[in-house]
């Protein structure tokens, strides 16, 4: 079953929004989500492909409504859920 992330060739997303002189991150929390994911992969908590899989399993409506790093946060929370004490909550 194709997932919502597989958009190559799809129409309807409209024109590009190009931001001049864009910073690496738009908010401190985005940078921290980036760092968290890097360390979780390096520490062997999950694999990068498992992370991609978790992003893709987001319900399509939520995926399309979420910002890029909100998707990351969702995926990290999903992967940690049910993986011991660190995943609770």
């Amino acid at each position: 079953m194709s997932r919502v992330n597989d958009v190559g060739g799809q129409g309807g997303f409209g024109a590009l929004e190009i931001e001049a002189d864009e910073p690496p991150f738009h908010a401190d929390w985005e940078a921290r989500v980036y760092a968290l994911n890097s360390v979780l992969v390096r520490n062997g908590v999950y694999r990068l492909d498992e992370f991609r899989d978790a992003v893709e399993r987001m319900p399509p409506r939520a995926y399309l409504a979420a910002s890029y790093y909100e998707r990351w946060l969702y995926a990290i929370e999903t992967l940690l859920a049910g993986r011991g004490p660190a995943g609770e909550g």
Binding site: F13, E17, A35, L36, L73, G89
Partner: protein, 196 residues
């Protein structure tokens, strides 16, 4: 997934997650600081510009870069080891008759450890959906109009390689230093949505 996550402001969700993982010994605060510091200090489009400027200035380096970018990067003091895991880098060279443009249609693959986070438009559905289908129209939205005779190749990074475009050296730049040449190269030029 419990419902409480989405009721919290996102920054608070992130802080709570960090605290829980640090408390459980899954990650250390120093590791998080180090990962972020390495990204913010070590990865930047400036690295890509330096690679391009060297390739324009040194024909031998250009050849080695195109043949095996990972092996050539140490010549300019860089490597592909800065990301989450070391990746293969493939450099594709624009010519008078061919133009290259990069995308990841399935997610957002990009040489992030070398160049830093990709621009938001690169991660957007609009770009990922459209550039494989109608690259000329997409490039035109960036203000890049290519002659009809130019062949366009779109590179969809769907596996373990990351790509970098080697733009054409602008006319009238003979005799310029590497630093002067590097200053001409933009992040869009390295992705292929600008000429340089």
């Amino acid at each position: 997934m419990s419902g409480e996550h989405t009721s919290l402001p996102v920054a608070a969700r992130v802080r709570r997650l960090e605290e829980r993982l640090i408390g459980a010994g899954v990650v250390a605060q120093e590791q998080l600081d180090e990962a972020l510091g390495a990204m913010l200090k070590g990865a930047s489009p400036v690295n890509g510009a330096r690679i391009v400027a060297r390739a324009w200035s040194d024909a031998g380096f250009r050849e080695r870069l195109l043949a095996d970018a990972n092996a050539a990067l140490p010549e300019v003091g860089l490597s592909m080891a800065g990301g989450i895991q070391e990746q293969r880098l493939k450099v594709v060279e624009n010519t008078a008759t061919t133009h290259h443009v990069l995308v990841c249609t399935l997610c957002s693959c990009y040489p992030i450890g070398l160049l830093g986070p990709s621009p938001s438009w690169y991660k957007s559905e609009a770009y990922r959906a459209r550039v494989v289908r109608e690259p000329r129209a997409v490039l035109a939205e960036f203000g890049l109009e290519l002659p009809e005779s130019t062949t366009i190749t779109v590179w969809d990074s769907s596996a373990e390689s990351r790509y970098l475009v080697l733009p054409r050296r602008p006319a009238g730049t003979a005799g310029r230093s590497e630093a002067e040449l590097a200053a001409l190269v933009t992040r869009e030029g390295l992705i292929g949505t600008a000429a340089v």
